[in-house]
Amino acid sequence: MSVKINVNGKPMDVEPGLTVEGLLTLLAVKREYTAVAVNREITPKATYAAVTLNEGDKVEIVRPMGGG
């Protein structure tokens, strides 16, 4: 059984029990200047390893881009 989540607008199947920390590692996301929100709530960096992703979770991973 895999867990269906949504990451930055794209569907993704992940292993049950995957944490935010695990997801960032899996996607090879640079940690510096990155922020994560799960279901519209910000996940503090310190809790990445403690937050498990559940079926239907919507994950947003953001960082700075060019803008004015």
Binding site: E32, Y33, V62, G67, G68
Partner: protein, 259 residues
């Protein structure tokens, strides 16, 4: 001439030019333009990481040297803008934010009702709020009262390059608030930036005028000089305007050429 620094959220800046990171032809050009502009504050957007995550814009910005100013561009409600600011803070981009609550896609004019609401909330939460607003003195005062660290009236629509369309309103805004006034958006060329500063504005924020010019690095230098020239002219106290001529040379002592 002695000049004070620009103070935002307790931080002091000697440069009065704030520049962006959007639309540059290459990251190297962007870095060189930042250098040439003499800026100390650089705006960035906060967006979804592209996966797999590759090169970062921050590889080209020395964050020890420049203060980053995350914006809330693309937010159409106070709620979205507030959440974006929290994300930016969590990402480690600091507590100074360029607050935009956009009202319409075509004009990108601000939704001032949402802007005021978001300003109040974010100021209460400890952010240094720099709201992008209309050239409306009443709204500027309301934003100040809501806790804004400065007000940033537009000179003209974002990216339009139309310059300072209503200098008289900007002048009234300067008389209406005590927080710094920074013209944000509309600058097309150096004289526009100089005009903003000659009016007495505390700074100018621009992106497209530099990034979209044919030579972004030299335009960045032109903007640096224009902001400095405009500021100096303002501080020096310009002469009054008169309809008729006033001779610069003495009228006495002219030789007599009559025969």
């Amino acid at each position: 001439m002695y000049d004070t620094n620009l103070v935002l959220g307790g931080k002091e800046f000697t440069s009065r030019l704030i520049v962006g990171t959007g639309k540059y032809s290459t990251m190297d050009v962007m870095r060189d333009a930042h250098e040439a502009s003499g800026t100390e504050i650089i705006t960035v957007a906060v967006r979804r990481v592209s996966l797999p995550s590759g090169e970062s814009i921050l590889d080209y910005i020395d964050t020890k040297r420049y203060t980053l100013l995350p914006n809330t561009a693309g937010c159409y409600s106070a709620d979205e803008a507030i959440r974006t600011c929290y994300l930016a803070r969590e990402a480690g981009l600091g507590e100074m934010v360029k607050l935009e609550v956009i009202g319409d896609q075509r004009t990108l004019f601000p939704d001032v009702i949402g802007l005021l609401e978001a300003t109040r909330t974010l100021a209460r939460e400890g952010f240094t709020v720099m709201p992008y607003t209309n050239d409306d003195p009443i709204m500027a005062k309301k934003l100040q009262d809501a806790g804004a660290a400065c007000v940033m009236p537009l000179g003209a629509p974002i990216g339009s390059g139309l310059g300072i369309r209503n200098p008289y309103n900007i002048k009234i805004i300067l008389e209406s608030v005590t927080v710094p006034v920074i013209v944000d958006a509309g600058v097309g060329t150096a004289s526009d930036a100089a005009i903003a500063m000659e009016l007495g504005c505390d700074g100018v924020l621009m992106n497209t005028a530099i990034a979209g010019s044919r030579d972004a690095v030299s335009m960045a230098k032109a903007m640096k000089l224009a902001v400095e020239a405009g500021r100096l002219a303002y501080k020096s106290g310009r002469i009054g305007k008169k309809l008729y001529a006033t001779a610069s040379s003495p009228l006495e002592g002219l030789p007599d050429w009559t025969s």
